[in-house]
């Protein structure tokens, strides 16, 4: 740094406010050197790797796999683990989870409906917190554009499923994260905008 005036200690802008010819020359010198410094900084960035992730097509792996484990994406339910305790339904502040559990002929209980209206979900994560058996949790999926918003009312149970009654340590391993949503989200994996079935009309 070439400066006609020695910088005072502690002044972030040395020479500032110095009057007279000395200050004038010092300001010229500082202008020249700082502009050169600034240009050198920006020039060095021209040779650095950009941070941009070119979603959705020019990326090495899907964004869903790049997201952290704690990412709260669309909820997914592993029905094999669900005991039908209704804790998630009760804790949901919005009430977007709709569960129906009925008695079957064998005297056990069946889950006949497990709907999550993802379009209303606010991704607070309370339901997955209360789920003792880790049946309900967030996936890292977030692409679910639909031609009709009612398609986002996801049906995790299509035919009655008996509630889970596993002994400790005998429960089946949980399905891989995001694997269940493939069958639940209409038109999953297709480009957003068109649903093959024209969308669901009635609930």
């Amino acid at each position: 740094m070439v400066s006609a005036v020695p910088p005072p200690v502690g002044d972030p802008m040395p020479g500032r406010g110095t009057g007279g010819l000395k200050g004038w020359i010092a300001n010229w010198a500082r202008t020249a050197t700082t502009v050169l410094d600034g240009l050198a900084v920006t020039m060095s960035w021209m040779f650095r790797r950009p941070l941009t992730i070119q979603y959705p097509d020019k990326i090495p792996q899907p964004v869903q796999q790049m997201l952290p484990e704690t990412y709260r994406g669309i909820l997914e339910l592993d029905v094999r683990l669900c005991t039908g305790c209704l804790q998630c339904q009760k804790t949901c502040p919005i009430g977007c989870i709709d569960i129906v559990v009925e008695k079957n002929e064998a005297g056990g209980r069946d889950i006949t409906r497990f709907d999550i209206d993802v379009s209303r979900c606010m991704y607070c994560g309370l339901c997955s917190e209360v789920c003792t058996f880790a049946a309900l949790r967030h996936s890292s999926e977030f692409e679910a554009t639909q031609p009709d918003i009612r398609n986002l009312n996801l049906h995790f149970v299509t035919k009655p499923v008996p509630v889970a009654r596993h002994k400790p340590g005998e429960a089946p391993p949980r399905a891989p994260r995001g694997s269940i949503l493939k069958d639940v989200i209409p038109g999953y994996g297709r480009r957003p905008g068109k649903a093959p079935d024209g969308g669901e009309k009635n609930r």
């Binding site: 004038w24 300001n27 010229w28 202008t31 502009v35 050169l36 410094d37 600034g38 240009l39 050198a40 900084v41 920006t42 020039m43 060095s44 960035w45 021209m46 040779f47 650095r48 790797r49 950009p50 941070l51 941009t52 070119q54 020019k58």
Partner: protein, 420 residues
């Protein structure tokens, strides 16, 4: 009957097809063709340079920039232009209708008119006026009127602020600009653009920028003042987004908005061209003198034209890149800082500089030993400055390289020619 009309016209106007002087028709056709060529050139420059600027800005900000429309996004400007075409052309109810509609054309016309004297190559110039540089400084005054008109006619406080700021800025910065260009006129002994180029050579040590240290300083003074006159950051107060939304063109939309943008990016070329002509030796091709080019015929003549055009465009493009980088490096000045920069620093500085040029021109005989010593020293100064710049940029890169590799597991090196 037709013959009667012809006879009548002949008597009335003195029109006789046999003796009629057709030279003015030729002149009109030539002028029209030259204007059209200049317009096509500026359109083909101003469009892609917006894409170029956004790519440079992207890399400086650790982004990529537009790369989707066409290969690497080179057609982005077409998409933007068509979008603007399709937008509704709104005129505010309270605006002064006539002035509001007319202002963009005046601004664009002011920039277009500079192309009358700006050369593109050895013989590629519309009109080589004897007062070329004076014409250039004077005709850009039209732009002030256009911008002020746009600001006033919009009947909006933001637009008015922008217009008035622009007027103050352009009028102020004309002075240092004229002073620093005057030193070139003194060195060249002519105001004609081609004459100024003819007084320089093709090699860097023959350029005016390296003729002596004062002309070296005049180059940067002139470039600074031109950037300020062109309303580009760090002097883009008339548009100042953070204060004035968009300044004088805040009420404009669609095609009329496009004319302002067109002029703004076209002006980038004007800035670069003036500096190239006055300081960087213009279109001079190494190894051949302007007289030899003029004496050549046929294919050789057009070959030299093409070569000189390429040299000129290359030099101007480097300057355009520099001005673009300047924009994404420096923050915008405040209004009072802008005026202080001009009146307290640039005007006295340019005046002192002009005096220095005068003294050196009077004392040092041209092409003498002392002249070449000064040229050599100035060239060395320029090279030293460039070396310091490269060293600083490299140091900034190296400071982060190892840390980046440790954190990301990837190499930081990603030069501009690697296209993501």
């Amino acid at each position: 009957m037709l013959r009667d009309v012809a006879t009548f016209l002949e008597r009335l106007l003195g029109f006789d097809p046999a003796t009629f002087d057709y030279s003015w028709v030729t002149a009109v056709v030539v002028i029209g063709a030259a204007s059209l060529l200049a317009f096509v050139f500026i359109a083909l420059f101003a469009g892609p340079v917006t894409w170029w600027e956004r790519r440079i800005a992207g890399r400086i900000q650790c982004r990529i920039g537009p790369n989707r429309v066409g290969p690497q996004g080179v057609l982005q400007w077409l998409a933007d232009g068509i979008k603007c075409f399709l937008k509704e052309d709104l005129v505010p109810a309270a605006a002064d209708q006539g002035l509001f509609r007319f202002a963009p054309y005046l601004v664009f016309g002011g920039y277009m008119a500079t192309f009358a004297v700006l050369p593109f190559g050895a013989n590629l110039v519309a009109a080589d006026l004897d007062v070329g540089l004076l014409y250039l400084l004077a005709i850009t005054g039209l732009v002030v009127i256009g911008i002020l008109m746009a600001g006033w006619a919009s009947n909006s406080k933001w637009a008015l602020f922008g217009g008035i700021r622009s007027a103050a800025q352009l009028v102020s910065y004309e002075i240092p600009s004229a002073f620093s260009l005057m030193s070139v006129v003194l060195a060249a002994g002519t105001m004609s653009m081609q004459g100024i180029i003819g007084q320089q050579g093709a090699w860097p040590w023959e350029w005016f920028v390296f003729k002596n240290p004062f002309l070296f300083a005049a180059f940067f003074l002139s470039l600074t003042a031109s950037v300020a006159e062109g309303n580009r950051t760090p002097f883009d107060l008339p548009e100042g987004e953070s204060e004035l939304v968009a300044g004088y063109h805040v009420e404009y939309s669609g095609m009329r908005f496009l004319w302002f943008m067109f002029a703004e990016w076209g002006n980038l070329w004007v800035i670069a061209t003036i500096a190239t002509v006055c300081f960087l030796g213009g279109w001079q091709v190494p190894g051949v003198t302007p007289a030899e080019i003029a004496a050549s015929t046929g294919l050789a003549f057009w070959g030299w034209q093409a070569l000189s055009f390429a040299v000129f465009v290359a030099k101007a493009s480097v300057l355009v890149a520099f001005v673009i980088q300047l924009r994404w490096t420096l923050p915008r000045l405040r209004v009072d800082q802008l005026m202080i920069t001009c009146w307290k620093y640039l005007v006295p500085g340019a005046l002192l500089n002009l005096a220095g040029v005068l003294v050196l021109l009077a004392v040092v005989p041209d092409q003498g030993v002392a002249d070449w010593a000064i040229r050599g020293a100035t060239l060395f100064l320029g090279l030293a400055l460039a070396s310091v710049f490269v060293w600083k940029a490299r140091a900034g890169y190296l400071a982060d390289r190892d840390l980046y590799r440790r954190m990301e597991g990837k190499e930081l090196w990603y030069p501009p020619y690697r296209l993501p």
